[in-house]
Every structure is written in structure tokens, then in C-alpha cells.
Symmetry: C2
Subunit: 352 residues, 2 copies
């Protein structure tokens, strides 16, 4: 059956050259645009390329001096979260505009995995790195360890690490939204947060507390639930809140996983029996369908895809752009605090 030539081996320029009756150099030139190669010869070469199914070996190419790898390495924490899917898409699109490909790794919030990925990326000669850091450990991200490859941190910071960083405006987003809720008369506002080591968590908590204190309130330990890693955790936390003797009239949800869990808890109860009116939800991050759940809602939104795009842009400014400060830059993307939708007046209590 296999009447063709032996094709066990991947063809190289040599094979192509031989078949086209030229030297490897002519093949190389043809493949790089064909300058200084006679059109008819180019045709012969292209034919040979086609019949052999030749692809030029980018890895071999990339070891030549002055040659770019056209690769960037991206490490995110959880691809299953649509937030990071959108983030990755933002990165990918900007990378594509700059002619780069993306090596993507999922850390699952594990520092060890992050370290492994980053080291591998560097070994593969990526031109730059975009990392959503998992935690406090910073050693493997130090410039020296990275061979001075540009690094952009996204969404979170790492203590003690100086690097280009894109954040979203967590603090004022949390502050403004909480303030708005307090202005509406709420006094018992709960907090659903994720693990504390994650920088966004503390920043959002900070904004939350800041608003509270402005209204002469202190965070009530009973109402502060932290450490939820996924929607299931969040659902349990929310159920605990709903079961309190004096449940909160509003709940601040740090991220989309907590929002899903909270809505799940509220929704389940409503399906099972006539439930009391749900608390107002301050939802950091957009969640599809949340606004239709007939739960009073204040969304603090931003576009994760834009976050990724911005991180990529900062990276390519260093890679392709004119010389810029060596100094690490920091961008905080604005968030949009929406209106409180579908909210009944809270049970007003003396605000003090």
C-alpha cells in the first residue's frame, strides 16, 4: 500500500533541497520570502515542500542568535473558571496581534505547580511571562531566576516582588459598593471571601471594612466568612449565614465563585419552600444569569478579557515597544459599580 518514499523521518531542508535539486540555502531563502530566488526555482521548492509535507523546524530556527521564539508563557490559576477563560482569551488575542503563541498552564492555585510551569516556560525560551500568582511565594519569580525575561503579574500581587502588575481596582470597587449598600440603610452586611493569601481577597476586604468604618460599623465576626475556594464552599458558607438567628440583610461576595454559591443557596431554599426575602447581594465580578435570579443585586463588574489584554499589552510594550522604564509599572483597571437592582428597603435599624 505504502508505495510512496520512506517517510518515517520528518523531512528537513536537506530532503527538500535534494528533491528540488537545489541547496538547502535556496530552500531556506524561499521559505523566508523568496528574495533573491528565481520564481521558477521557488516553485520547484514549494512543490517539494508540498510533496514531502515539510514544515520548517521552528525550534531549530529559534536557537540561532537574534531570533525570537515568538512564544509567551501564561500561568493562570483555574481555567475552569470562566473568569480566567476570558482572561486567557484576552491574552491570546493580543499575543496573536503581536505574532506570538501562548503556552498555557493551569496552576490550580498550587505554588509548586506554578514554579514548575514558570521554569519550564523559561527553558522553552518564552520571550515573556504572564502569571496570575497563586500566593505569597515569590522566589521563583525573581528576575534573576527568570533570566531577566519580562514578567507581568495579573489580577494579584506578590508580597516583596517588584514586577509589572495589572490589577483591578479592588479596594475602591469594594469600598464604593459597600458604601452604597450602607447608604441604602443596611447595617448587617456579611462578607464571603476566598483564601486570605490571595491578594485580591485582602484588598476587597480592605475596601469593605473601610466603608463599614465610615458608617461607624465594625465587621461582625459572625458575618465574615473567608476561605471559600469554590462554589460548593461558598454555598455552605451562605447557608450558614441564612441560618443565623439574625441573618444579614446584605452579603458582599468577593468573586464569581462566591456569587454562584450564594445564589445557589438562596435559590435552593426558594425552590424548596417559601423562603424569607433574600439578602441583597453585592457581587464582585459578573455572573451570567445572576441579574435574573430575582435576588436584589449590586454588581461590581469589569471585563476579565480586558484584564488579560492589558497584561499582554504591558508585556509587549517591553518586548516590542520603544525602550521604557526599567521600573516596574502598575495599572489598576477601573471597575463599574452598578445600581442596586430589585431591592426592597432593608429592615431599617438604627445605624448606630
Amino acid at each position: 500500500m505504502n508505495s510512496g518514499p520512506e517517510r518515517n523521518v520528518v523531512p528537513t531542508v536537506r530532503e527538500v533541497a535534494e528533491l528540488a535539486g537545489v541547496s538547502p540555502m535556496t530552500v531556506s531563502r524561499t521559505l523566508s520570502g523568496g528574495k533573491y530566488v528565481r520564481p521558477e526555482v521557488q516553485q520547484r521548492v514549494m512543490d517539494a515542500v508540498a510533496t514531502l509535507g515539510y514544515h520548517r523546524n521552528e525550534n531549530a530556527r529559534s536557537i540561532r542568535p537574534g531570533h525570537r521564539s515568538d512564544l509567551i508563557g501564561v500561568a493562570i490559576t483555574n481555567l475552569a473558571n470562566p473568569y480566567y477563560g476570558n482572561f486567557a482569551l484576552g491574552v491570546e488575542e493580543v499575543a496573536a496581534q503581536h505574532g506570538r503563541r501562548m503556552l498555557l498552564g493551569n496552576t490550580g492555585e498550587q505554588v509548586a505547580r506554578e514554579k514548575q510551569l514558570v521554569q519550564d516556560f523559561v527553558g522553552r525560551q518564552v520571550e515573556g511571562l504572564i502569571v496570575v500568582p497563586t500566593g505569597a511565594a515569590a522566589d521563583h519569580l525573581r528576575p534573576a531566576r527568570l533570566g531577566d525575561i519580562p514578567l507581568v503579574l495579573a489580577s494579584r500581587t506578590v508580597r516583596g516582588l517588584k514586577a509589572d502588575t495589572v490589577l483591578i481596582d479592588d479596594i475602591s470597587g469594594a469600598y464604593e459598593s459597600t458604601k452604597r449598600i450602607l447608604e441604602a440603610g443596611h447595617t448587617r452586611v456579611a462578607f464571603l471571601g476566598n483564601v486570605i493569601s490571595v491578594a485580591t481577597a485582602s484588598r476587597r476586604y480592605e475596601g469593605f471594612c473601610q466603608a463599614l468604618s465610615e458608617f461607624g460599623l465594625e465587621p461582625d465576626p459572625e458575618l465574615i466568612m473567608r476561605g471559600q475556594q469554590d462554589a460548593a464552599d461558598a454555598q455552605k458558607a451562605m447557608e450558614a449565614l441564612l441560618d443565623l438567628a439574625d441573618p444579614p440583610t446584605a452579603v458582599f461576595s468577593t468573586n464569581n465563585r462566591n456569587t454562584i454559591g450564594a445564589l445557589e443557596a438562596i435559590g435552593q431554599r426558594r425552590l424548596r419552600s417559601a423562603a424569607p426575602p433574600p439578602p441583597t447581594l453585592i457581587a464582585f465580578d459578573d455572573v451570567e444569569l445572576a441579574h435574573l435570579m430575582q435576588v436584589p443585586l449590586l454588581v461590581v463588574s469589569h471585563d476579565p478579557k480586558e484584564l488579560g489584554a492589558q497584561a499582554a499589552r504591558m508585556l509587549f510594550e517591553r518586548l516590542d515597544g520603544a525602550k521604557i522604564t526599567k521600573k516596574p509599572r502598575r495599572v489598576e483597571l477601573p471597575v463599574v459599580v452598578g445600581d442596586i437592582l430589585g431591592a426592597p428597603a432593608p429592615n431599617r435599624r438604627a445605624a448606630r
Copy 2:
């Protein structure tokens, strides 16, 4: 400030060797496990590696004969869709288990982009490819064009292309769920589909029609909406259905984008005014929160992450496993047809 040694250039084995006072070979050996290298010498080498911030160049390594690139190429259609985020995660995890990294590209349903990505991947010496094909064009996926690199198609087929394929059981999922709806007494069942060129669309439509015909029904052109690419399209289509003089009592939604759009349409009307009871939704694919929307729902679910994992497993069977048939294999993952939740009895009409 910069008192250290000149570090403009990325260090190579040579630099490390020099600093450690050994030959490049000894460095190489040390880095590959240290067999036949005296422990103390190994230590000197590792120290040099650390001070120079050396990373071995995987690309240079990979051009040596017999060496694997440890890379796979993955092209998906839409990273912003959580479905494909989960899919990619499934691939990534299995790839990681097999010590491989993932080059990920987003095609945005554009064949040209898919072609570009695949060719680039091949040039980068990926060991295998996983593609969610965008459409009918198959040329760039032919084995010859791929240099015989193993290819696994996921989620969709390509006409005229023989390759390992993982699908989900679209036809019987659509058939079984539609049948269940018809058994419940519905006779006006609408269809929300995506673009026809996408293989899943036709397969699900096929199962849908099969069930209809078994009940002596024909698809009513008025109720068949196809070509919705995103949730916004789907919302418009659903609104048109709700505005019909004789609206459907049930709606089959092909995928999560259509489901979101449909729920959006239903939910918006409900928020604006007292709306008539919504149609029952047959939702292919899971959607977070959908089950809490108080819309009668029949979910046809499967795990996209498992789809990705399965595709990756099929790939690595060819890469790492014992020899297996050259013949393309095809796996159809089962779907789970749930119960009809929260459904009132439909307005019964004579089924004929």
C-alpha cells in the same frame, strides 16, 4: 548599581561550565541526573547554574535526534465560553500527567486562523494536536500536511477527514430528551441551534427530528431557529419565539450559549411584567444557575472537562502507549438526560 557580571546575554552551558571550572559535557550530565559526575563537582555546577540564573535551552535540546518536544498543540474555538475553558483544563491536566505542555490557540470559529495555528504548532514540533474543528475545511488537517503528527478531533467531526475523534453522544442526547418532552404531552417544540456547518448542530438537530417524527410530528419552520453564534443572537431568537401568536410550549436549546440567551429572554420579560408561564427548556450542556431560574428545565448534561481529558488520553495512547491500530478511532461520550424539573403540564392538544 549593576555591580554583578555582565548578564546581557542568556547564559549557556559554556558559561556555566567556565564558572564551575568544568567542561560543558559535565554540566550537561549534571543537569540530566548527574550520573558519572562526582557529587562535589555536581555541587559546583549547580552553584554556577544558580548564580548565573541558567536555564537549559529546551529548544536547542529538542533538535537533537530522538528527543521529544514535550509539547502538544491545542486549538479550540472559543476560550470565552466556559465550556471550552473546562475542555482545555481537561486537556491540560492529562497533558501534565504525561509531562507535556500545552500550546493553546483560539480559532474564534475561523478556519483561516485554525489553519495558521495548526501549521505553526507543527513547525514548533508539537508531538500531537487536539483540535475542535471550526468547519468543513479539512485540507490543513490531512495527515500528510501534519507530517503524520497524531491528531485528535474533539467535539466535532470534519467531513471527509479520518482522524481520532471524541464526540459526545449528540444524537441520542437530543433524541432522548426531545422524546421525553413529547411524552410529557408537548407538541409545539422549538429548536434553537447554532451555525449549521458545525457538526454538533446537525447531529443534535437530527436527534431532535428523529424524536419528533416518532411522534408523527414534523419540525415547524416557524419554530426552528438556527445560526445563533452567541447568547445575544439566541436571546433575539427566543424573543421571536415568545412573540409568536402560538408560542412553543417547549424549546430545545442546542448549547450553553443558546440556553443563556433563552433564559435571558424569558427572565427579562418576567422582570418587566407579569409574563405568561415560560416554555419548558431542553438545555443541552450545563449552565450555572439555570436550574434555579424557575423555568421548567430538562438538562442534557456532560462534562466538557472529561471531553478534553478523553481527547488527551486518546492522543497519549498514540504517543506513549503500546502500538495501536493505525485506524482512526471514534469515541462517543455518554450524556445524562435529567428529569424535567419544575414543569407544569403543557397545554395538551391532540397530538395529531
